[in-house]
């Protein structure tokens, strides 16, 4: 993939069409992702993985894992953060704007529609039943995504150990996730 800074001048000289195509594709792809992210920001991860890594090859799995880490440490929903980053990487500020707008757009429309049309959306028995079906699926999808990340994250024996340490620290000892990431980074500096 071309480095983002070096490509700035190339972009201005006649690559406009290509760039608009990418910007549009970013918007559409992230709209697709945003439309099916049920149950919280992490639910976006399996969708992003499929669309952005497998289908389009816009990111490698390693870069994806790094983005999740950064998105964790910065303010805002992880879904929005990841979209912004990927968008920027692919098409600069315009791409970032397109991706971010895209991921937010479907929910914006849906919530507005529900709010404006008096629809008692969340209380409808059908919606409740559907949601009770979606939630276990989301858990499974996220678990599968964790496995995929593990494939690139575990380069040696240290990997699973770090994972275990973080699991215990965050979920038993109530360590803040940001601290856990920072500490893991420091550990990485020492080990590698």
């Amino acid at each position: 993939m071309r480095p983002t800074r070096a490509s700035t001048s190339r972009r201005r000289t006649g690559r406009g069409d290509e760039r608009s195509m990418i910007v549009l594709r970013l918007f559409l792809t992230f709209a697709k992702i945003g439309a099916f992210t049920f149950g919280g920001g992490y639910a976006m991860i399996p969708l992003m993985q499929r669309e952005i890594i497998d289908t389009t090859g816009w990111l490698t799995m390693k870069e994806f894992a790094d983005i999740i880490a950064i998105a964790e440490m910065t303010p805002g929903p992880v879904a929005v953060n990841s979209a912004t980053y990927v968008g920027y990487k692919l098409a600069g500020v315009g791409g970032a704007a397109a991706a971010t707008t895209g991921v937010v757009f479907p929910s914006f429309v849906i919530i507005l529609a529900v709010a404006a049309l008096f629809v008692r959306f969340k209380d409808s028995p059908l919606v409740k039943a559907a949601t009770m079906g979606i939630r276990p699926a989301v858990a499974a999808l996220i678990a599968a995504a964790a496995l995929s990340v593990a494939k690139v994250a575990f380069v040696d024996a240290a990997g699973p150990i770090i994972t275990l340490l973080v699991l215990v620290a965050v979920y038993r000892a109530r360590l803040h996730p940001i601290l856990a990431i920072v500490l893991a980074g420091m550990l990485g500096l020492i080990l590698y």
Partner: protein, 240 residues
Amino acid sequence: MEKRYGTPGGLLARQQDEGECVLEQTRLILSMFVVFFKIGAFTFGGGYAMVPLMQKEVVDANGWVTNEEFLDMLGLAQTAPGPIAVNTSVFVGYRKAGLAGAIAAVAGTTLPSFLVILAIAMFFGQLRGSADAEAAFSGVRPAVVALVAGAAFRIGRAAVRDVCAAALCALAFTAIVALKVHPIPVIVGCAALGCVLFRGTSATASQGPGPSLPTDDSRVAEPDATDSRVDLSQADRERR
């Protein structure tokens, strides 16, 4: 108590305080933007962390919605697709100030992270190549595995309460891992199956999509969330 989510006048009509002049309305829209910008800027680590702060600002400090309405919106925000913070802000914004309010609220919520990530991305590009950064990230990636797996476990534990749910979970997992099915058909399929399997479940089932406390979910609670007034039992008791 009757719940009115929209106005007959249409999308652009203001919910409350009709008869205010344009300047007042503009002031409201701007202050919405500012408040949501503040919320968006000061919550780290995911949408659920925003909820207590949002509640404090939107219900207590500004009185744009009542606590019950907020909990209601929260429930909707969790059921509908998209980041919960975005959904809630759209709803609150629309409820108080129509379409313009919704836009201002979403813009405020997403702008801080947008700007921060942009800044990081611009400078991070130079760091990427360095051996140090790569070493640090090699340590970070297993941590990411832990966080993602932890989220899966948290959601799974809350969502898989009976055999049907367990079966769906296993089905989805097999589809994704072994059969390489795209997530979207998996989600749609499980939603459809859910409609069939869970049809008879009572509306007050603990597994239902009512508003859930931020501390229940995949986030470690923020230290200042302890004074959160999100009250699950109160919302459940309110049968309208």
